[in-house]
């Protein structure tokens, strides 16, 4: 599937859109980690929780569960939530 990468993570991917495989959000993130080492820990913490300012969207819906099923012809959008200062 296509994955849209936010600017804050393009130091890993070098591109705003990349390809990844997996039948769940967890599997897609694991595949991204294989391709771009280090990227997963910037989005998920060591307790396997989505970090506070990271959001995942698929088919117009926000994903809150890593086990949520995804299909290969969709597009995963990774968003950095508005925050900072």
């Amino acid at each position: 599937m296509q994955v849209l990468i936010p600017s804050a993570l393009r130091s890993y991917t070098e591109h705003g859109t990349v390809e990844a495989r997996g039948e769940t959000l967890a599997a897609v993130l694991a595949d991204l980690e294989q391709r771009y080492p280090g990227i997963r820990f910037r989005m998920l913490d060591e307790q396997q929780q989505i970090r506070p300012h990271i959001r995942f969207f698929f088919a117009g819906e926000q994903l809150r569960d890593l086990t949520q099923a995804l299909h290969a012809d969709g597009e995963l959008i990774i968003v950095q939530a508005l925050s900072g200062g």
Binding site: A8, G38, F41, L44, E46, R51, S83
Partner: protein, 400 residues
């Protein structure tokens, strides 16, 4: 200003003339990192940066064992924490393969209690390991955690018992028990005579020591004050801001605490309150503590306003370094060149350091983004950079 090129002492590297070791100031800020390369006389500074613009850099440290490797503790507002490593003085950086991260929800060391899992918010403190252990680094995190790398900072793992020891977890408390930026483990000190002998400090949580390479730790808190009304026997109520070991006498420690300034001469375990001799109108509260590289009787602090609601600014808007030359029996104000009024900044615990040259150069970075230096052990000060982001750490280091 003294002409440093004419000065040479037996124990210190001469400042000036053709010194093959170049001085660099490693400046970590809320919005990135900068390197300031000094010339031999410490007169002119070449700026290199920003590195990691927009990243929160809590600490940037040069490995004194090779004089080339840099480690940077980083995170951004959106992403999780990580560490970056450079072996070419910042021309290129590579990310740690396995940054500090706590174990998943774990059993206590005694097995009877399940402890909630924790998440590293950021790595706050970096300490190179013993000179006999060239690949070893230690890291302290927020919330309080101790980590170690054995491969120069590429892979990190929880170190020692304390991260998941039920007693230590109780002393660490929760987020509300820590500093405004989160509870922190800091001041990781390796005894230069013994790689198994470490000190560390936690805000909150107190000062602790291991003599067996981290297999066990014990509190080192005797005679330290806590906020009035709290039990000083409970390490959780102790808030050491910065602890330093004297390189010229590793049995001597100095500490800037939330409740005063202290000295400890081992093997004693009783801290001596040396802040009582500070002027009452200035007080004995601050963040950084700096020790002289060759004279254990000399140390410096940077007082801040710790009254009422704790403004954490220079007392009365008049910043000053205070120096002791007698182990804390007396203190002298060192403010020549600093603003004499309406300067409402302060200096954080990692943002003041000394170089190893002769005479000793002192450096500090302010919460208002100014970088200041003294070539004469604090007697005269000058600003060498303005308009930086809030400065979190300043390390003076000598390149190989």
């Amino acid at each position: 200003m003294a002409d440093n090129t004419q000065v040479r002492h037996a124990n210190g590297r001469r400042a000036g003339a053709a010194d093959p070791q170049q001085l660099v100031l490693l400046v970590a800020t809320r919005k990135g990192a900068w390197l300031y390369h000094g010339d031999a006389a410490r007169e002119n500074w070449r700026v290199d940066g920003p590195h990691f613009l927009g990243h929160i850099i809590s600490h940037l440290v040069l490995d004194p064992r090779d004089g080339r490797t840099l480690l940077a503790a980083a995170k951004t507002g959106h992403l999780g924490p990580t560490l970056f490593r450079s072996t070419d003085l910042g021309r290129s950086w590579s990310e740690a393969s396995r940054p500090p991260a706590f174990a998943a929800a774990s059993e206590g060391s005694s097995g009877e209690a399940s402890l909630p899992g924790r998440t590293v918010d950021h790595t706050f403190w970096l300490t190179p390991g013993h000179s006999d252990q060239p690949g070893v680094w230690y890291a302290g995190t927020s919330p309080q955690g101790l980590f170690r790398s054995d491969d120069g900072g590429v892979n990190w793992a929880p170190f020692s018992c304390i991260n998941d020891d039920p007693q230590y977890r109780q002393w660490m408390g929760g987020v509300q028990d820590g500093t405004p930026d989160g509870p922190k483990l800091h001041s990781i000190i390796v005894d230069p005579r013994d790689s198994d002998h470490l000190y560390l400090a936690m805000s909150g949580g107190g000062v602790h020591e291991t003599v067996d390479g981290g297999r066990s730790f014990k509190p080192l808190l005797d005679q330290l004050d806590v906020v009035e009304g709290f039990d000083r026997a409970n390490p959780g109520f102790h808030d050491p801001h910065c602890v330093r070991l004297c390189p010229s006498n590793p049995d001597r420690l100095y500490q800037q605490n939330h409740c005063g300034i202290y000295r400890l001469d081992r093997p004693s375990e009783k801290w001596l309150n040396i802040g009582k001799s500070m002027p009452a109108e200035v007080g004995d509260i601050g963040f950084p503590m700096v020790v002289h590289p060759r004279d254990a009787d000399i140390a410096w602090v940077f007082p801040m306003d710790g009254t009422s609601v704790w403004p954490r600014t220079s007392p009365d808007g008049k910043p000053a370094v205070y120096a002791t030359r007698d182990g804390g029996q007396s203190w002298q104000r060192r403010d020549s060149g600093l603003p004499d009024s309406q300067a409402w900044w302060t200096v954080k615990r990692q943002a003041m350091s000394a170089d190893g040259l002769e005479p000793v150069g002192l450096y500090f970075g302010t919460t208002s983004g100014e970088l200041w230096m003294s070539r004469d052990e604090g007697r005269h000060w000058q600003c060498i950079a303005r308009h930086l982001p809030e400065i979190y750490a300043v390390e003076a280091a000598l390149l190989a």
